[in-house]
């Protein structure tokens, strides 16, 4: 008996030692991540500093971006990033929710994994390929069919008017939607699958129809997770560079029409960094990157706050 206790206590000590090792390892990694983030933040700020010293804070209030006259304002790009990402969410969220719910709740089981693989495959396509597809297929389609129809239907609204270029905010938003659909869909599938079946049965037993049972026993419990998935998709949309640069038209301009060319924070950096002539120009481009980082952080914190609310009463 006493031997047994002795053996056990040794084992406990060993466990404690390996636990300590493990915890310290995790601590180290966490600290490294924080340092890495802080250094990116500091780097971006320091490289943008020449601009702030020269222009003050007008950079954040100015819509004009003109390297030839050394006037730099970020607002047009903020607008481009936010609007293209918003358009992306507008299309991606319903499609992703719909397919995740279909695959987890209604689809015959033997079809689930092939369809899922196809969706996951979409995530593996390089963004430059999406860009090419956007230029050669999507843009002409929008130019020839979508814009004429939409502007014809809404003669009074400014959103769909203007000359049809094919390349612009709307096309960029659509490409972004296609790029973030796999992300949002696959995470949502995981979330809906993780909701225990007994809730749905509970709803059914109360006399709920299929749709009501899905609503109260699948969507509602999964809502916080789905919002997290959407946030991840939004993050990707705001930072996406290659495909957007190829289809957005690249013009630093805030136009009331969704079909006019625009630029995002990411696309202007990609476009101009290589040929940034003056010091001020390159400082401004890092300042754009700095702004993108700040806005991404803001969106993430905002999303977290909303997600917390959706966790429901605790």
């Amino acid at each position: 008996m006493s031997e047994f206790i002795h053996a056990k206590s040794i084992k406990n000590n060993e466990v404690r030692f390996s636990d300590a090792l493990f915890y310290n390892f995790l601590r180290l990694i966490t600290v490294l991540i924080i340092i890495l983030f802080a250094s990116v933040f500091v780097f971006l700020y320091r490289s943008s500093e020449p601009l702030f010293l020269e222009q003050g804070w007008s950079f954040f209030k100015e819509t004009t971006w003109s390297p030839t006259t050394d006037t730099y304002g970020v607002l047009a790009f903020v607008y481009g990033t936010l609007v293209s990402s918003f358009i992306a969410l507008l299309f991606a969220v319903p499609v992703s929710m719909g397919s995740a719910l279909f695959l987890t709740q209604l689809c015959p089981r033997f079809l689930v994994s092939p369809i899922r693989s196809i969706i996951e495959l979409l995530a593996a396509i390089p963004s430059v390929v999406y860009g090419l597809w956007g230029i050669f297929v999507l843009a002409p389609f929008i130019k020839n069919y979508v814009q004429p129809v939409l502007s014809g239907l809404t003669p009074g609204l400014p959103f769909f008017q203007g000359p049809p270029f094919g390349l612009g905010l709307f096309t960029a938003g659509l490409i972004l939607a296609i790029m973030i659909i796999p992300t949002i869909t696959t995470i949502s599938i995981e979330i809906f699958q993780a909701v225990p079946k007994l809730y749905k049965e509970g709803a059914k037993a109360l006399g709920a129809t299929d749709w009501e049972a899905i609503k109260i026993a699948v969507i509602k419990p999964g809502m916080a997770g789905v919002l997290a998935a959407i946030t991840l998709g939004l993050g990707r949309a705001m930072g996406e560079t290659m495909a957007v640069t190829m289809v957005i038209g690249n013009r630093a301009d805030i136009s009331s029409s969704l079909f006019s060319p625009a630029a995002t924070m990411a696309s202007v950096i990609a476009n101009e960094y290589a040929e940034a002539g003056s010091n001020l120009h390159s400082a401004s481009l890092t300042a754009v990157g700095f702004t993108l980082l700040l806005i991404s952080m803001l969106v993430n914190f905002g999303a977290r706050y909303i997600i917390k609310k959706f966790r429901g009463p605790i």
Binding site: R109, P196, L198, Y199, E201, G202, A203, K204, A205, L206, G207, A208, T209, E212, I216, A217, K220, P221, M223, A224, F310, R311, G312, P313, I314
Partner: protein, 257 residues
């Protein structure tokens, strides 16, 4: 017999059910008396849950599930063509083995769920029904000051009574319970058994239980299942003191099961 004074609310006729190729419930016929507690007992895997889930048409929600036979609720076959399972389930409530209050819903919303599903919007009506059901489920005094907290924040026993209240809120004439106390401690179990006594004044209850003492304590009728067949059904007193079938006797005396 007291059966003459009360009517049979459920009449089950030659009910056979299973999954895919396997037949789990075999030609079961029985009657359930109104405002009584009918206990279903039998060894694990003998098809009690499957049978119970046929009574509110929940069985058919499982992939590959099938059913034949009749279940008459107030002389109307719930399996008749054109009968909406959603309607059937609004008449025959169910409480599950594991408490399953809806997550991310408050205590109040959980109890109200059956009403809101039905499209009832009137706030005063819902509030009354919630209070009445929680009182009926003997949970009111414990939760009346925290109706807005999460249903899942309650203890296991309280959660199960919450699920009973949720079932009661839409006032179904029949409630099915599948081992409602098997996940609970003895005190919570005693509370629910006491509750069943009160409930049967108003509701007909069919309860599956693994625990023979429980069946003896709470039920009026006992039905004994073995390998998907109904071996014997009788008033609980007679069944436990004087079983007719030797297999029932073996089971009661603990010789198998």
């Amino acid at each position: 017999m007291n059966k003459d004074s009360k009517s049979n609310i459920l009449i089950i006729d030659q009910l056979t059910a299973g999954f895919g190729k396997s037949e789990i419930v075999k030609k079961i016929s029985m009657q359930v008396t109104e405002k009584e507690i009918t206990a279903l007992i039998g060894p694990s895997g003998c098809g009690k849950s499957t049978f119970l889930r046929c009574l509110n048409r929940l069985h058919e929600e499982t992939p590959d599930a099938w059913v034949h036979g009749k279940v008459n609720l107030n002389n109307k076959n719930i399996y008749e063509k054109g009968t909406d399972p959603v309607f059937v389930r609004s008449q025959i409530g169910m409480v599950f083995q594991k408490p399953n209050p809806f997550p991310s819903m408050s205590i109040y919303d959980n109890v109200a769920a059956g009403l809101t599903i039905r499209g009832i919007k009137k706030k005063t009506y819902i509030a009354e029904a919630v209070e009445r059901s929680l009182i009926q489920a003997a949970l009111w005094t414990e939760v009346k000051d925290k109706l807005k907290s999460a249903g899942t924040s309650l203890s296991g026993g309280q959660q199960q009574r919450l699920c009973i209240a949720r079932a009661l809120a839409i006032s179904p004439p029949v409630i099915l319970m599948d081992e409602p106390t098997s996940a609970l401690d003895p005190i919570s179990t005693a509370k629910i058994e006491e509750l069943l006594h009160q409930l049967k004044k108003e509701v007909t209850i069919v309860i599956v239980t693994h625990n023979m003492q429980q069946a003896a304590r709470v039920s009026d009728q006992t039905a004994f299942f073995l390998l998907g067949e109904l071996i014997e059904m009788d008033s609980t007193k007679k069944f436990f003191t004087n079983p007719k079938d030797p297999r029932s006797e073996n089971y009661i005396t603990g010789r198998f099961g």
